[in-house]
Amino acid sequence: MFFRLIPFRYNLRSLGRRRLRTMLTVVGISLVVFVCILMLSFSRGIKSSFSNTASSQNAIIVNANAFTDLTLSRVPKGVADNFAASANGIKEEHGQRLISPEVHLGSNIELSKDSGQFLFGVVRGVRPIAFRVHPQVGITKGREPAPGRKVIVGRLAATKLGIADDAIALGSTLYFEGDAWEVVGFFDAPGTAFESEIWCDVDDLIVSTKREEYSAISVVLESPEGFEDVDYFCKSRLNLELQAWKESVFYSRLAETLDPMIYLVGIMVVMVTGGGILAGMNTMYAAVLGRFQEFGILRLMGFSRLSILTGLCCESMLIAGTGGMLGAIFAEMIGGFSLRFPMGAFSLTVELEILLIGILQALFIGLAGGLLPGIRSIRMSQVDSIRAL
């Protein structure tokens, strides 16, 4: 028996015979793909906001007792100076070692003085060198933060504060830690947790919060092996109570706290895909059940069982593929919005890779949905097919 494909036009017209059911299935599968793309983008976005924040070349030094808890970490100024002067393995640029002492804290922020309307935001006190230690950060408008309580605001800081994007303008004033801070610029750092922060001068923040310590020190390593030097320094100088982390490890430990949520998202993706397969199967079973006579004629015309099965799978994948494309287009259209979570905020960006996964998922639904009904239909012997006439 030779293999001859049933003309594609024939499959296309077959779908038109059951318009309502075909349309329902297309809409159903488009919803499956839409939901799955959004869920995958959600888990990708939330995870990558941590992984993108970490630089493979960077290390972070915190108080040894704080583990990965920046809010508990306190590195006294003297200790930071000692580290800066003595630790090896740190990159130097233009005669300056790339060491950024920083204060990191959650703060209640007011948009107008004594309004009583506190918005919870994340503030990071930095020195100018922080922009070289965290090269992901770039000023998009205005200038760098400066002493005199001049702050810059991240692209997603408004989302983190739960206010409209235009609620904070250049020149406006924010009130936190008992002081007024003028907004002198805006910055972005695509896909990182920095974007949800407000950056200011570290010494200003230390004065306002009446503290005498930094939260952590971020450094750029001269090479991946440089971490061993930094780690050795922290371990050998026990009196300083410092602990070094590779940034990638540090932020992946932080991201672990969100794993339960991402795990549940995974379960939902699997279940919704299962629902899509059922919808596809339903349609194709219905398409097959009333067509045994038709298959008999096709067999008489010389089309093999495999040809008929291929044709049915094509029909099913066409329905699913159309639904998948619609779902992907819809997800792409509404993607790009921002969501906040306890440690910051992130943009739910629908990436091309995830769109392709969504469309492939639709095709898989189509194939899985068409295969079983198809196999059932071709099992009928040629004699029975002829009898069905």
Binding site: L31, V35, N65, P260, N282, L289
Partner: protein, 300 residues
């Protein structure tokens, strides 16, 4: 200070277990003031044993059940080792998701004991009406201190933490609505298919004298039966997955566990029934309007 009945310094650690899907909230507290401060009910073990042994812990009922621990177990939570000496209930609050250990023990275990460090101070007032004024007074007193305070009622403190999850909760809700719509289409598709396959049967029923309303009722009942079985399986499956998985997130030092309660199970089940009804209605109307002659002719 006036109206302050008790103060309890508390050191908070949120540590992961062997499986990183489960975070355990550990609060270091002073056992001598804990009892006067928190009106929980001890349901197993002994408070005296907890008070007498520095490396011991009182564990909330919810956490005990979640982790499958029993009184007397020696537990290792990421380098913090303690022995469980009691189990408490606190009216189903998030406090039941915590392990309470001695403050000094946790300070030593985490190496934060040098400065007698505490994450926060719990203050008990003698009159709840005075809560806001006492909070304001505390912040005023410590305004010039090295460590300034930010005092607020416990409920407001937790509400702020939960507020951080609002976007994610709303997003999940949106996905839930879309999934319900998807289910509606799936049900409608299935019932439509079922009626189309039985055109002859429906035409014969009409010939036998079944009125259109009766046919409509039959199809809707079929849809309801399917959604009843599916809803029961789905709601039970979801209930089991969420409750058996030890899922939760840390909010302000509390471990807020994802728990599917009975009312969530019932709500999901009711939604499934509703979707079954709505999804079956259109195909049922179409089936009830079937012309007897054309129905018999289509399959003759």
């Amino acid at each position: 200070m006036d109206h302050v009945r008790a103060v309890m310094p508390t050191l908070i650690k949120l540590n992961s277990c062997a499986t990183n899907l489960d975070m355990v909230g550990i609060h270091g507290v002073d056992p001598s003031v804990l009892r006067s401060f928190r009106d929980f009910r001890l349901v197993a073990g002994s408070y005296d044993a907890f008070q007498a042994e520095t490396g011991s812990a009182l564990v909330g009922r919810e956490l005990m059940e979640r982790r499958g621990w029993t009184v007397g177990d020696a537990v290792d939570i990421n380098r913090i080792n303690f022995t469980i000496r009691g189990v408490f209930e606190d009216g189903g609050t998030t406090y039941e998701s915590l392990a309470l250990v001695h403050l000094t023990f946790l300070q030593q275990a985490t190496g934060i004991g040098r400065d007698s460090w505490a994450t926060q101070l719990y203050v008990r007032v003698d009159d709840s009406e005075k809560l806001d004024s006492v909070a304001a007074r505390i912040d005023e007193v410590f305004d010039t201190d090295v460590f300034q305070t930010d005092t607020k009622p416990e409920s407001a403190f937790l509400a702020r933490g939960l507020e951080e999850f609002r976007d994610i909760a709303e997003f999940s809700q949106l996905l839930g609505y879309i999934t319900a719509l998807l289910t509606l289409i799936l049900v409608a598709n299935t019932i439509y298919m079922a009626t189309q396959d039985r055109v002859k049967e429906i035409a014969i029923l009409r010939t036998l004298g079944f009125m259109p309303e009766r046919v409509l009722l039959l199809v809707v009942l079929e849809s309801l039966t399917l959604s009843f079985i599916g809803g029961l399986l789905g709601a039970a499956g979801g209930y089991w997955i969420v409750n058996s998985g030890n899922y939760g997130v840390g909010i302000e030092g509390y471990q807020v566990a994802f728990v599917a309660e009975v009312h969530v199970f019932l709500f999901s089940f009711a939604v499934a029934i509703l979707l079954g009804f709505l999804g079956g209605l259109l195909p049922a109307i179409a089936a009830s309007r079937l012309q007897i002659v054309s129905g018999l002719r289509r399959v003759a």
